[in-house]
Each structure stands twice: as C-alpha cells, then as structure tokens.
C-alpha cells in the first residue's frame, strides 16, 4: 500500500490504483477483527446479565413459592353451648377454646384409627397457637352455630407446615422443644388420611402480620394496604407538582444563574440516598409538623420528596423531545405560550411523562430505607384499617418494610414469607412497568 502511494504522490489527476477489491487488506482485516471482538464482548455482557437475572428469579421462586401454601388441619369441632359459655366467662378465654379443640382433635385421631399416648397438651403443639382464636372469632361472628358441630380448617403449627414443605427434618427436631419425631409420625398418617393438607394460603396475601410465635398466620395484606395509601399520596402529590415544575422550568423560566442552580440541584437530588429523605421526613413531618408516626401519609410525603426529582427529570426530557416546529406552528397561528404548551407540547410529551411517573412510583413502592426512619417498620398488630382516614393516618407498614421485618426474625418460617413477599412485590412492580409500556404505546403519536 505505502509504496503505491509514494509512486503516485505527484499525480493528482489519476488516483493510485488500489489493490484488488477481492483481497482484504491488513488494515480492513484489523478493523473487522476489532468489530467482531466488540460484538462478542457485548454479547457476553448481555449473557452474563441474563444469567444473573435467571439466577435471581430462580432463587426467588424456589424460596418464595412455598409461602403461598399453608398446612391446615381439618377438624369437626362440636360447639356445645355449655362449654362455650364457660369459656367466655373465664379470664383467658382462648385456653378454654384450646381444650375444646384438643378434645375434638383427639376424637379425629381415634376415628382415623391413629393410636397415640400423647397428652392433649402435647397434641396441641401440632396446631397453630392462633387456632383457638380463629374458632372463637367464628363463634362470636356466628352465634347461631352454637350447639352444632362445625368443621374448621385450622392452621397447623409452623413446624408441621415446615415438615410437609421439607424445611423441617426429623434431625432438626432433636433439640426442639416444640415438636418431636412422634408428632411427625402422626402428621404423616394424618396427611395420608387427608386430614392434614397443604392448601393455597389466601391469608398470606390478604392477612395481617403475626407475632413471632405464629409465623403460619402472618400475611402481607395489611402492609399492602399501607403501600397502597402511600402510593396514593405519592401519585396525587408528585405528579401535579412534578409536571408543573418541569413545565415551568422547561418552557417559561428565564435562563439565568438561578434556574441553572435549581436545575443542578434537581439532578443532585435524584442521586441523594433515600435514607437522607427518611431523616428529613422524620425531622420535618414528625418532629416539626407533628404528623402521626408510622402513618402512610408521612411515608407518602417522604416518598413524594424522593420521587419528585425522577418525575421532573423524565418530564423535562420528554418536553424537550417535542420538536420545536410544533411550538413554532402553534405560536405562528397566534397561540399564547401557555396554549402552545398545553394544547400541543404536553399531549405529545404525555407518554414520556406517564412512563417517568410510573417508574418513579415503582421506585417508591420498593423503597425501604426512608420508612425505617419514620417508623413504618415493625409489628403491626392491628388489622385492616377501617376507613380511608384511618388508611392514611393509622400506623401501618409497607410491603418492603414488612419483608425486611420478616427477614430479620429468627424463625425460618418467616424467612420463607419474606421470599413470598418479594414475589408479591415484584408482581406489583412488573404490573406497573407493563402499564407504563401499554400507556406509552397507546398515547404515542407520530408526526
């Protein structure tokens, strides 16, 4: 190559004859090799990413799906009027109900032909300590049932549940005072007789959290409601504030040092760790404004602060992407600035704004750290809030905070629930992202 150019250095009119097109010269070969290498790096990066994703999903599914089933013991309990009246008169009412269930359980065992020399108290260990309460709740709710025999599906204890799910083995029970191998023999036979069964666990999805000794009763439902009210606050506040702020900054604000400063600060806020927003919320909303602690209203306010920069940045980006010719066209026919923005620019920017908002909301939904600081984590003993005001103001938790709470408890039965909670959380996030995609497709207009 070099010698041909040297030869014809002076001749401008007749360019040097290059080598044959059928031969690839060394420079081209190098460039092609570099391109092929780059493609390979890119492809392997994608594959590694996919592998991580698959590993993540597989772990979550394998650990979490078992939370959606729960072991129940089917027991017909005779609800004798005399016994129930005696129980209601005693101080610790559920212990009397326990005795009633215990007798019924013993009857079930003997009619199934299972012989055991265990005491009623020992047998009781196979059942959830919440079982007595659920029988009592039923009786109080249906006084007409007194005097009849009602068949209950009572929760088995978490050890029994764990045994059927393969989490608890006989070796584990050597040092366990709650259950021993003899119980498991009974469980095996009851399982064969269809009296002990695993079923789909609606209570996990709709129920409330339960105390440390009753993991089998714990559900994510109440914290789901907490999350719902928080998201309501975030949506109602951050969408109008964020969109209004971005329209002003993008379309109306004069370009000067002050607006530059605001712009830089908004970008910086987007990168501020969420726990900072948490401590800000603690100081501003709880200590200064005296809003109730642990309330979804406060959680929503804090998450609004956190979501605003995301919404503002994405809204400004989508406003910017509307071609200036549309603005000119509107101004050219005598539309005012505001008319041109609201009639023409905003509708075109809508898909981007909605996508940004939903992604911001999804982020807020999964956020845990700021909630720790305003007390939205912990055992929420109360059940479903009654009414909308209570939904905003009563102490509650949120899904990610509930998951965190379960993950740090000692009993492995809670660990399973943490994974199950993550599945539900991911389903919500996926739904939101799908909605974002659909909205984008639906509203996207071409010009």
């Amino acid at each position: 190559m070099t010698d041909t150019t040297a030869q014809t250095g002076g001749a401008v009119a007749t360019p040097a004859r290059k080598g044959s097109l059928l031969e690839v010269d060394s420079l081209t070969r190098k460039r092609n090799a570099a391109e092929a290498r780059f493609k390979m790096y890119g492809l392997s990066a994608v594959i590694v990413g996919l592998l991580f994703l698959v590993a993540l999903l597989a772990t979550i599914l394998s650990n979490g799906t078992s939370a959606f089933t729960q072991t129940f013991i089917t027991i017909p309990v005779p609800l004798e009027r005399a016994e129930i009246e005696a129980a209601e008169k005693s101080i610790v009412k559920t212990s009397k109900y326990r005795a009633i269930i215990g007798t019924a359980f013993a009857n079930v065992l003997s009619s199934a032909g299972i012989e055991t020399d265990m005491s009623a108290k020992d047998l009781d260990k196979m059942m959830s300590s919440g079982a007595a309460a659920s029988v009592r709740d039923f009786v109080l709710a249906n006084p007409g049932s007194i005097g009849t025999t009602h068949t209950f599906d009572l929760l088995a204890s978490s050890r029994v549940d764990g045994y059927l799910k393969g989490r608890v083995t006989r070796e584990d029970l050597i040092n366990d005072k709650n259950l021993d191998a003899a119980h498991l023999d009974i469980v095996d036979r009851l399982n064969a007789a269809g009296i002990v069964q695993k079923r789909f666990n609606w209570q996990f999805i709709f129920g409330a959290d339960a105390s440390d000794s009753r993991p089998e009763q714990a559900g994510i439902g109440v914290s789901m409601i907490g999350s719902f009210f928080m998201m309501l606050v975030v949506l109602v506040l951050s969408l109008p504030i964020g969109v209004a702020a971005s329209i002003y900054l993008e379309e109306f604000a004069p370009k000067n040092r002050f607006t530059d400063l605001i712009e830089v600060n908004i970008s910086n806020l987007a990168a501020v760790p969420s726990i900072v927003f948490g401590i800000l919320g603690l100081a501003a909303f709880i200590q200064f404004a005296h809003l109730p602690q642990s309330a979804p209203l406060v959680g929503g306010l804090v998450l609004t602060l956190m979501t605003l920069p995301t919404i503002i940045i994405s809204t400004r980006a989508s406003l910017k992407s509307v071609p200036p010719s549309i603005r000119n066209a509107a101004l050219g026919v005598g539309a005012s600035k505001m008319q041109s923005v609201f009639h023409h620019v905003l509708p075109l920017a809508m898909p981007g704004i909605l996508t940004g908002t939903i992604i911001g909301l999804a982020q807020a939904l999964g956020e845990t750290a700021p909630l720790l600081l305003i007390g939205m984590v912990g055992f929420i003993a109360s059940n479903v809030p009654d009414g909308v005001a209570a939904g905003f103001l009563d102490p509650n938790s949120a899904m990610p905070a509930q998951i965190y709470e379960w993950a740090k408890r000692a009993d492995p039965a809670f660990y399973e629930r943490a994974w199950g909670g993550i599945i539900i959380l991911l389903l919500f996030l996926m739904t939101m992202n799908i909605i974002a995609i659909i909205l984008r497709r639906r509203f996207e207009r071409r010009w």
Partner: protein, 265 residues
C-alpha cells in the same frame, strides 16, 4: 405580471403595509441585522433573497415577533404595520401573530386531524360562533389553499399523513384560517419537490390578491417567478430593494449582481 397598485413609499400616495426603520437585531454579541430600512407594500409578494446567514429569515421573524421566543435575541429600531409600532410595550405578540401569519420552512402540521389543524387557530381566537361557522372557515381556508378537493373526504385523518406539498398547503390554510393580513413564508418550498413547489407558487400568486406576502427564498428563479418586489440581504445589510424585474435585470449594487449571476452564494 405586476398589475397591483404598488406605489413607491416616497411618492406618498399609499402607505406601506409594513415599514421598518433602522432595525438592528443582535443574537447575544452577534450583530445579525444592521440598520435595515424597508417598506413592504400591501397586497404584494415581496421576496427576501441572499446567501445563507445573511439575516433574511431573522428579519422576517422580526415582523411577527417570533424572535421573542429566542432568549438571547434583541431587536432595536422601529417596525410598523399599518402605522402601528409592533414593538410597542402595549402590543401583545399573540395578537400580532394572528394578524401576521407564518408558514415555516419545514411543513409542521399539528399531529391532529386535518380539520383540527385548521380549526385550531379560529378556535383559540374565538372566530367562530358555531360548529357550522367553523366548518365554513375550515372549508374556505382549504379552498383558498387549493387543498380542499384533495382532502375534503378525509378531514378527520391526521394532517401528518399528507404528502410534503399537501402538508405545506395545509400549513398555509392553517395560517389563512385566522384571517391574517400579512403572511410570512420562510423558505416554504425548500423541502418540496418541483411539482409541489409549482403548486405552492401558483397559490402564492393567487393569495396576493388578498394578503401581503413576504417570502424568504434561496431560489432566485422562485423569487423572479412569484414576487413583485425583491430585497437582497448580505451579511446583515439590506443591500438593495426594488421591483423584482429591476433587481434581476438591472441591479444597482455590485454585490447583488454577483449574487444573482451566481458568482457567490
């Protein structure tokens, strides 16, 4: 070609539609328009020609204050339409732009139906009392823009689905719909093929009966074909202005001659 009553401003018999005196435009530090004095006659097509960057579009955008939308742009001097100073603080540019319509270089219909594209202006200016009124305005504007026959059966289809030339005529119809007195056209045919260009030029010639038209063009043939008067800009100066025939056959300035004979530009 030039039967309209174009009367020289100095003769004083007819006021010019637009008169500009000592107009200066600055983009930040750049002095884009220098001391331009120009009268534009009513019901005439005036062409602005000149090499790229000479300031002809900038000057055009002064006439409906579109330059207001550019932060760093500053306009000095005196521009009057019908004797009224359009840079007077009392003048609302929005009202001005209803009187001085504009057609842009690239066809820019709204991403809405053909009907809504045209109805938008009358709607925001409250020009129609009823739906029937509005229908009439839309039909009239399309007719004037010579587009009615082509689109009358698909007024609810998106304006962006039309061909380039049709889109540009739609934009002209949109400008006409708000009944302006002046129509500014910023290189309206530069994105169009020769046949679409011919149609637009024909249209401009018809519109001259009712409107004052100012057109910026890069094509000297186009200026010669459609305009009665031509202004030649160079490096921010208005070099020469006069009857189109005169400018093209007998320019007084050397620079004009060089430009129209293709020696630079």
């Amino acid at each position: 070609m030039n039967e309209m009553p174009v009367v020289d401003a100095e003769a004083g018999t007819l006021l010019p539609k637009i008169s500009a005196k000592k107009v200066q435009v600055f983009y930040g530090e750049t002095h884009a328009i220098k001391d331009v004095d120009l009268n534009i006659a009513d019901r005439t097509v005036t062409a602005f020609i000149g090499p790229s960057g000479c300031g002809k579009s900038t000057f055009l955008r002064c006439l409906n204050r579109m330059n207001d939308t550019i932060d760093i742009c500053r306009v000095e001097g005196d521009i009057r339409i019908d004797g009224e100073d359009i840079y007077d603080p009392k003048v609302d540019p929005v009202q001005l732009r209803a009187k001085v319509g504009m057609v842009f270089q690239k066809p820019n219909p709204f991403p809405k139906s053909i009907y809504d594209n045209i109805a938008y202006g009358p709607r925001i200016h409250g020009l129609s009392r009823s739906k029937a009124d509005l229908d009439e305005i839309v039909a009239n504007s399309l007719q004037k823009a010579g587009l009615y026959e082509e689109v009358k059966d698909r007024l609810d289809e998106p304006g962006t689905g039309l061909s380039g030339g049709q889109q540009q005529r739609l934009c002209i119809a949109r400008a006409i719909a708000v009944s302006p007195e002046v129509i500014l056209m910023d290189e309206p045919c530069s994105a169009l093929d020769p046949i679409a260009t011919a149609k637009i030029e024909e249209l401009i010639d018809e519109l001259r009966e009712n409107y004052t038209i100012v057109i910026v063009t890069h094509s000297m043939q186009q200026a010669a074909r459609v305009s009665q008067r031509t202004a030649f800009f160079h490096l921010g100066n208005l070099v020469e202005e006069g009857e189109t025939k005169e400018i093209f056959t007998n320019p007084t300035d050397r620079r004009t001659q060089d430009y129209i004979t293709g020696r630079f530009g």
